[in-house]
């Protein structure tokens, strides 16, 4: 136990953060908070990958390092695109409430 942490503990933290992010995404009405919840979920997933990468030896660990890099890049693009969409949509509606976007079909 000296200077060690159990792999499972890392996963538990990641799981908790993931569920928190999911909760934020599903329950908040503000569109920004929705995007932030998604970012939180992606962060949790990153943590999970890195935890696993440290739990295995050899080549498997590289996968756990590489994937978060991709995820960060993709999260960045997702955030950009999401924000651009938010700007466009919110301009017409004068509201940041995601329930107001429900009139999509009209």
């Amino acid at each position: 136990m000296i200077n060690h942490i159990a792999l499972v503990d890392v996963q538990i933290v990641a799981a908790i953060l993931f569920c928190l992010g999911l909760a934020v995404a599903l329950t908040r009405r503000n569109v920004f908070l929705l995007l932030m919840g998604i970012e939180l979920m992606l962060n949790a997933v990153n943590l999970s990958f890195i935890g696993f990468s440290r739990g295995f030896a050899g080549a498997e660990s590289l996968f756990g390092q590489m994937t978060p890099i991709f995820i960060i890049a993709i999260a960045a693009s997702a955030a950009c695109v999401g924000l651009a969409m938010v700007i466009c949509i919110v301009r017409g509606r004068e509201s940041l409430d995601s329930d107001a976007f429900a009139d999509m079909k009209e």
Binding site: M1, N3, H4, M36, N43, I69
Partner: protein, 273 residues
């Protein structure tokens, strides 16, 4: 002096960062204004960066601060500020609809945490076509797979071959698999009084061994900027904290200047496209 605290500092740091991250996450969930939520999210990211450093992933820790907490969150904060000026923000934090939505993460979280802390060997998709064997199943709390043979009466002897080159005899027993994979276990029944119950059968299943390993942490060198090795993580953490402080300051200052400025009448509507 720090070295002697090493033994408990490593895990302590980890749980500290984890705790901060969780609290910031809850803060995000309950934040009233998006800018508050952004600050909490930056907090989560910075603490995660610390955890990455502890887990010997320096590049990712740096990347997390620079790209995630730095670039992305700056973008988010900027957009919030741009759109905040002309729009009203009296959106309630929770409504009864959210309560229903909370069910899913709650259950999912409970399931994940429960599964991670307890179960060990998961048995996936057994192809059970043998009449002599009941499905192998997991023994909760341990890493063994339990095998049971159908009772063939007195005098019968049961010999199991577990597919990982081990053999045992016995009617019901458990076996721990060191590695995940697809195994074919074979049971041979002999010596039963009822001749129809003699014979052998196989069952194919997938056993997953959830790794219960340990991870070495790098806590000791975190504060040691003079030692060789990656000691500059702390600097990054400090940079991140400075970042966070500047964002908070900007927000606070902006709020103050908005409250003190005379109310402008919205002369031109921006939503004319």
């Amino acid at each position: 002096m720090f070295y002697s605290l090493d033994a408990i500092l490593g895990p302590a740091y980890f749980w500290l960062f984890a705790g901060i991250a969780t609290l910031c996450g809850i803060g995000l969930l309950l934040a009233r204004h998006p800018i508050n939520g952004a600050i909490y999210l930056i907090g989560v990211m910075l603490s995660l960066s610390g955890i990455y450093a502890l887990l010997n992933s320096p590049f990712l820790a740096v990347l997390q601060v620079l790209v995630y907490a730095g670039a992305i969150m700056m973008l988010v904060v900027f957009v919030i500020m741009v759109l905040n000026q002309a729009k009203e923000h009296t959106i309630p934090v929770f409504d009864w609809f959210s309560l229903v939505g909370l069910m899913l993460p709650l259950v999912l979280g409970a399931a994940l945490v429960g599964t991670l802390s307890t179960a060990n060997a998961a048995v996936f998709r057994t192809d059970d076509k043998a009449a002599l064997i009941t499905s192998p199943k997991t023994d909760q709390g341990t890493s063994t797979v339990v095998f049971a043979a159908v009772d063939a009466g007195e005098g019968a002897s049961y010999v199991w071959e577990f597919g990982d080159k081990t053999t045992t005899s016995g009617r019901e027993l458990g076996h721990a698999y060191a590695q995940s994979g697809t195994y074919t276990a074979k049971l041979t029944v002999s010596g039963a009084k009822d001749a129809a119950k003699n014979g052998s059968a196989t069952v194919t299943f997938r056993a997953v061994a959830v790794p219960r390993g340990e991870i070495a942490l790098l806590s000791a060198t975190m504060f040691d900027v003079r030692a060789k090795g990656p000691g500059y993580y702390l600097l990054f953490e400090l940079v991140g904290v400075v970042l966070l402080a500047s964002v908070v300051a900007a927000v606070v200052l902006a709020k103050r200047s908005l409250e003190s400025a005379p109310p402008e009448k919205p002369a031109h509507q921006e939503g004319h496209h």
